[in-house]
Amino acid sequence: MSKARNKKRGKRAKPKRASAVKMSSSAAVTVATNARKPVKERIAAMANVTQAVCEKDNKFQALLKVLRNMNEPIRVRLAALQALQAASFAVVQFESRRADYLATLRAVATDADPELRQRVLGLLAREKDGFAQQRLLEGLQQPGKALLPPEKALQLLSYDIHADAYPVARMIVKSPPNEEAKREALRLLAADASSKPLFERILNDKEETKENRQLSASALQAIAPEAMQTHARELLLDPKEYDDIQATSLTALTQFGTAAKVEKDEELLKRVASLKSAGSNKLKRGARRFLTKYGS
């Protein structure tokens, strides 16, 4: 990247070693964008294109063309995407390329290949791109228009908690198309303090999946830590509770509990001491850590 820096500044030439690297990077773009070359060779060349992409607009445009071209092998297009994204980390040089890059990403967001769609929509969502957010929301509201499975769309919408996704997330929690979608809808709602009753209900519902209950514990610990500490205590004292949920409760109390309060709770200390000697391995492990912090 330093060669590009020097060119931009119009300053001194790079040492000979770096010139050789630069030539190799330009040559790499030539190979990577040559449809007559074997796919494996083109993908290998993508690892060396970063400098040239930053330095020369024609090299950058050539790579964008590969990414856009639906007739190119998908493996080559994915490798081009990775190379462009790696180049984008050099923000100063990449700044003048950024608009074209994002426009190309939007263009391929509706590509026929699901893997490419997913990666591109992910990149756009992390930039809080309005186009991507709109398409993801549309897909959740009208599944016929969906570019991604609902669970992935919800996950990507969680990159921007102002994406107006709460109503659709609540709808999916009530009537989930699958368990993964429900989980991701819950994760998105965890940023919403008004969802506390929902998470309390799920955390205490033994019929819910382990993943959703643990996610609810995490959400509650974030939005209502005192309530979560109370729930964690009750879950630990419940002899019929599942090991995983009790282990999560132990972790919550160990990590985030208030020593002055926990150390006076004889019933809790006694229960954890019993888990240390008679619980499952994961409970024994959690109990050891708890007692190291709070026990005598």
């Binding site: 990247m1 330093s2 820096r5 020097n6 500044r9 300053k11 001194r12 790079k14 040492p15 070693r17 770096a18 690297v21 690892a47 060396n48 970063t50 400098q51 990775q82 994204q85 790696a86 180049a87 984008s88 980390f89 050099a90 923000v91 100063v92 040089q93 997913q118 990666r119 992910g122 990149l123 992390r126 930039e127 809080k128 499975p149 669970e151 996950q155 990159y159 908690i161 993964e180 991701e184 994760r187 965890a190 940023a191 993943e211 996610l215 514990a217 995490s218 959400a219 610990q221 974030a222 949920i245 282990a247 999560t248 972790t251 919550a252 160990t254 990590q255 985030f256 994961k282 959690g286």
Partner: protein
């Protein structure tokens, strides 16, 4: 007869941490009873188990080291200086696992526990080392409400030009990691930031007990004992990370360590590593870590960058590039952007906001250390080069890597 022994010239137990670089120490007689001469001859040695840390001694900051050191302590209580170093290849595994013992003849007259605290390959940590690191990291995050928020907010699109795409990339991230590591050590002094060697498979890292395992959509899951299950950033719990390689058996994409170190013997060539392997390590995944504005939301980010920093440290050692007055140690150029010149202070620690700096400066000054004084709360780019204090002992930053020697 008793002695007072101070590591890093401090009485604080939080200063009893060593690296491969010499730590200044002092010792004095506090009770000379039984002494028959104006000075008492004592011997210092390190005592530890076979798998624990190990130390060596020096009378002066430079020169050869030895496993024991004889000193003459005046009975008037005057301090005698000496230096202690971690013995390369034998870092500690737990806090205080090496004792510095002081003997008068065969009688032990003083003992002080210390730790050779070194950044290690994350794939080789003991379960206890791993768990201490995770616990401290989860506490720093504190369900999204802790001090980690500042670190998350330092690494965004707004601050990115201060940290990327110019020669200050490596120094800025060195300061960033050091700041985070010191905050972790304020929670648990025994923690050092581990590194992820992204050019090697790391089957012990991508597990439910450590950095978690990803499902097909990139949602990362953890064991119930792993405190990272409570990780929250930007108000949203959890971590999104979808590897495009088999994390259990393969390395990430990008050039190898050997290829990276062969990029050239001048910083102006070596800094190309920002694109590859650094950029390729990031983009070997989908999810948080693959984009600048979200990368720091994933704890793995810091292990990835510890390896980037380690590669720089290795390169520095190979070509002796610690001295900022040597041209090849940095890519100095009058047209470098602000924050990317050796004398520039670095954002956000300098607190400067407004163009050409970013609009806000999260986090305040860089955390201090009980063990070393450098780089101070407002580090300059040049303060990050001599991290082992080779050129100036006072420049030591107080960290080292398990496979990067002092000399």
């Amino acid at each position: 007869m008793t002695v007072d022994l101070q590591i890093n010239n401090s009485a604080s137990p939080r200063a009893r941490y060593l690296t491969w670089a010499p730590s200044p120490c002092r010792i004095r007689l506090t009770d000379p009873s039984g002494a028959s001469t104006p000075v008492v001859n004592v011997t210092l040695t390190g005592r530890s188990g076979a798998t624990a840390g190990s130390v060596v001694f020096r009378k002066t900051a430079t020169g050869s080291s030895s496993t024991s050191l004889s000193l003459q302590l005046p009975i008037d209580g005057a301090s005698v200086p000496f230096f202690v170093l971690g013995r390369f290849g034998q870092p500690s595994v737990s806090d205080g696992d090496v004792d510095i013992e002081v003997r008068d003849g065969t009688t032990v007259i003083g003992r002080l526990p210390a730790m050779v605290r070194i950044r290690k390959n994350a794939n080789t940590l003991t379960p206890a080392e791993r768990d201490r690191f995770l616990s401290a990291f989860a506490q720093l995050n504190d369900q999204g409400h802790g001090r980690f928020v500042d670190f998350r907010n330092m690494h965004t699109n707004a601050g990115s030009p201060q940290a990327h795409g110019a020669p200050g990339f490596l120094p800025w991230h060195r300061a960033y990691l050091l700041d985070l590591e010191r905050e972790l050590q304020a929670i648990d002094s025994s923690v050092a930031l581990p590194y992820w060697r992204f050019d090697q498979a790391a089957p012990n890292l991508f597990t439910p007990d450590f950095m978690g395992v990803s499902d097909q959509f990139g949602t990362v899951s953890f064991n119930a004992n792993n405190p990272l299950q409570f990780w929250v950033t930007d108000g949203v719990p959890g971590i999104n990370r979808r590897p495009f390689f088999d994390a259990a058996t393969d390395s990430a994409s990008g050039i190898t360590e050997a290829q990276t170190l062969a990029l050239g013997n001048r910083y102006a060539s070596f800094e190309d590593m920002e694109g590859n392997p650094h950029g390729f390590a990031h983009t070997s995944f989908g999810g948080f870590i693959s984009s600048i504005p979200t990368a720091a939301r994933d704890p793995l980010f810091f292990l990835l960058h510890a390896n980037v920093d380690r590669l720089w440290a290795k390169w520095q050692r190979r070509f002796d590039r610690f001295d900022s007055t040597v041209a090849a140690s940095f890519d100095s150029n009058p047209s470098n952007p602000i924050g990317h010149n050796l004398p520039d202070t670095m954002w956000p620690w300098n607190g400067i906001t407004g163009p050409p700096r970013p609009p806000t400066a999260p986090g305040g000054g860089l955390a201090n250390s009980p063990s070393v004084k450098a780089p101070g709360p407002q580090p300059r780019v040049q303060d990050c080069l001599d991290y082992q204090g080779r050129i100036d002992a006072a420049a030591q930053l107080g960290f080292d890597y398990d496979d990067v020697q002092l000399s």
